[in-house]
Assembly symmetry: C2
Homo-oligomer: 215 residues x 2
Amino acid sequence: MTTRGRPRSFDRGKALARAMELFWAKGFDGTSLADLTGGLGINPPSLYAAFGSKEALFLEAVALYGETEGSYIWKQLDAPTAREAVERFLRASAIAFSRRGKPRGCLVILGALHPSESNREICRRLREFRAQNKVVLEDRLRRAVAEGELPEDADCSAMSSFILAVQMGMSIQARDGASRDELILTAEWATRNWFIPKVDNVASDFARQVAAKRH
Amino acid sequence: MTTRGRPRSFDRGKALARAMELFWAKGFDGTSLADLTGGLGINPPSLYAAFGSKEALFLEAVALYGETEGSYIWKQLDAPTAREAVERFLRASAIAFSRRGKPRGCLVILGALHPSESNREICRRLREFRAQNKVVLEDRLRRAVAEGELPEDADCSAMSSFILAVQMGMSIQARDGASRDELILTAEWATRNWFIPKVDNVASDFARQVAAKRH
DNA sequence: CCTGTTATGTAGTGAACGATACAGAATGGC
DNA sequence: GCCATTCTGTATCGTTCACTACATAACAGG
């Protein structure tokens, strides 16, 4: 009982990949069924038979995004030190958000921001992904504390929120047309001074010293 | 010839303020005319007579946002030093993005991210506002260079991109439900170490020294 | 009063939305 | 050959979209 009935006339994987790009470029609400059927070269009944609904297709598209671009970005956290991990993570984000011929920014970040009656579940799921991603990054920072790379009292939650805020901002800037080099500069700026314990204004004092020494 | 004809039965200013909140909460595409007429308590012909179109109403709403929340955020750049200016700017953003009883995040940042046939002009205008805002911030940083607060070779463009990326990210995090305190922590982290000239890894060396001294 | 002007409420417009009913086409199993 | 099964194209479904035609209501000026 393997393949009974009329065979599918299109490549489901390729269709999913194309749907991912459409959702990535236009968001969930901005992508109409007409966009999908037009872009995939199939008719509505074929789409519904293969994927179930627009919502289910979107969720499959997000899963595919996670296995491709998402994986490329998040595997950077495997770097030996947390500092390298975060530097590479943000750099990889800058690169993934500005690929030639691909939509700019991140599907998980920009796919559905405003909840409405029709996309509430989609919004919730993307939000869950983002929350889970924060846990992953925060855990990586906690490991750095355990390994002595970061001080015991480092606020890993605040650090990870900050790093992800930069990534989210880069996503919007990519969408606004920022070049890859500009995105990379933003990424580098975020980790430029890495972690300096907060001893009242010692950092700016230090900055003044260094600045003075250079003249 | 001041007030001929039947007088308007609603307060145009209050209606505009209410429309601003609706657009702010749901975005341009996510706010239907039914949402607007329902929220404003008027019928479509009254809305069109008073504001012209959904698009024109949105642009007026953005202008109002700029005069209220936008003004509150951007006037912080008047602080005497650039460091204070940026710290206050991001802190004010965190506060404005998390007001009780108001939509979370920023109308200019989140109002319309994905261009489509119907919102292309809106998207373009918001993008213009964001680009103009970057110019304003970058100019403030250049002033700091001229005044000697920042070194001559400071990359004001990259700095302002970075700061605005953090602000954009905070906007999404606010929308994701981050508390005001979390947003403020993110903001503070962004300026925690402020400007340290980039002399190969001197910052992390410094961090290690400080960390060692504390034990 | 009457007239001109402006705003209002009712009730729609055509178009696009996501999703389907249905009949016919293409396969495997017998 | 014939049936059960699955997919395909055509032609919609009912709903919602932004927007408006039209008759009437409420004012100012005369």
